[in-house]
Symmetry: C2
DNA sequence: CGCCATTATATGGGGTGCAATGGAATCGCG
DNA sequence: CGCGATTCCATTGCACCCCATATAATGGCG
């Protein structure tokens, strides 16, 4: 099958292999992400939140007050995604939003008492998720770090250019 | 840092570490997926398609005719996602949809000539993407396979239960 | 002090992603 | 053959996700 000299047919074969979904890293990331979000749903639905909302809360449970921009930086999301999401959290009494007094452009997002309480109720979520994934810890760490490196490197060079 | 006997404080510390975004595999997958979709945009926009639409076309370029169910199986998407997506592809003249004569429940999705032509114009996309990712090939393969194993194992046991 | 560039969110629109539901076609058992 | 169960897709409703653009506040320069 494999030929030393790559004629047109061999090159076409190579291209076809690159195009197969099963061979694509990007599709593997895409479908894993969709699947993971589905796995979170039954864990988070009893708490009345979605996975992206849960991610926002993970940040706030650590810092209690963040601006929209800081949340966006931490999560890799823009204001077009975060603003309506935060409004829903606010409508559900989980966070409060107010303009920063010293800079009226910024919006401070902070936990309400209900949002603080959610932290306790959500304490088991990470462990339950780890159980669901059923990955040996060192494999999970390796996979996580590989993805983090990839994301970090890609964020460094957002525009296409030669190296 | 690490203590043999885990008191309440140590356990709380442990939980806090589990909750940090930087430590979470799931968030690493989530943000990598969002970022990858953003990276595809400038490559696919000139072709007039989105990344999920491109994934559908990758399947059709290999098989030329698939049912909605087969596409959903291959991509891990359901009819609620695929039906409107396929309608948009149809509206753009890239695919045609028709009921299968032998089983009127099924909808056959097939490429139009324009959809076939897109294959040539999109031929450089996988290579451009590989360049963007800047991962050593063996690392990309390793990462891809780890994600594929994860996805495969998770699809096997969709409902939560003890092992 | 006034004006312009910059910064921080908000808004609008298009395109997913998925659960829940509905409806038509087919299957299969009696 | 008849009829309920099943299969397949479409529809609905809600929640992202992001780009482009708008708007308001701030900062800086003359």
């Amino acid at each position: 099958m494999a030929e030393k000299k790559k004629g047109g047919a061999a090159r076409a074969e190579e291209l076809a292999e690159l195009c197969r979904l099963d061979n694509q890293l990007c599709f593997a990331v895409y479908s894993a992400s969709n699947l993971i979000t589905r796995l979170y749903r039954p864990l988070l639905e009893p708490l009345g939140i979605t996975y992206p909302q849960y991610l926002v809360l993970l940040v706030l449970w650590e810092h209690s007050t963040r601006t929209v921009g800081e949340l966006g930086e931490a999560l890799g999301l823009d204001s077009g995604t975060l603003t309506p999401l935060l409004k829903r959290l606010e409508a559900n009494g989980i966070v409060a939003r107010k303009r920063a007094p010293e800079d009226e452009r910024r919006v401070l997002v902070e936990l309400t008492p209900a949002g603080q309480k959610l932290r306790t109720r959500a304490a088991s979520v990470p462990i339950e998720m780890i159980c669901k994934l059923r990955l040996p810890p060192e494999q999970a760490v390796e996979l996580r770090d590989a993805l983090k490196r990839l994301t970090r490197d890609l964020r460094a060079l957002p525009e296409g250019n030669e190296g």
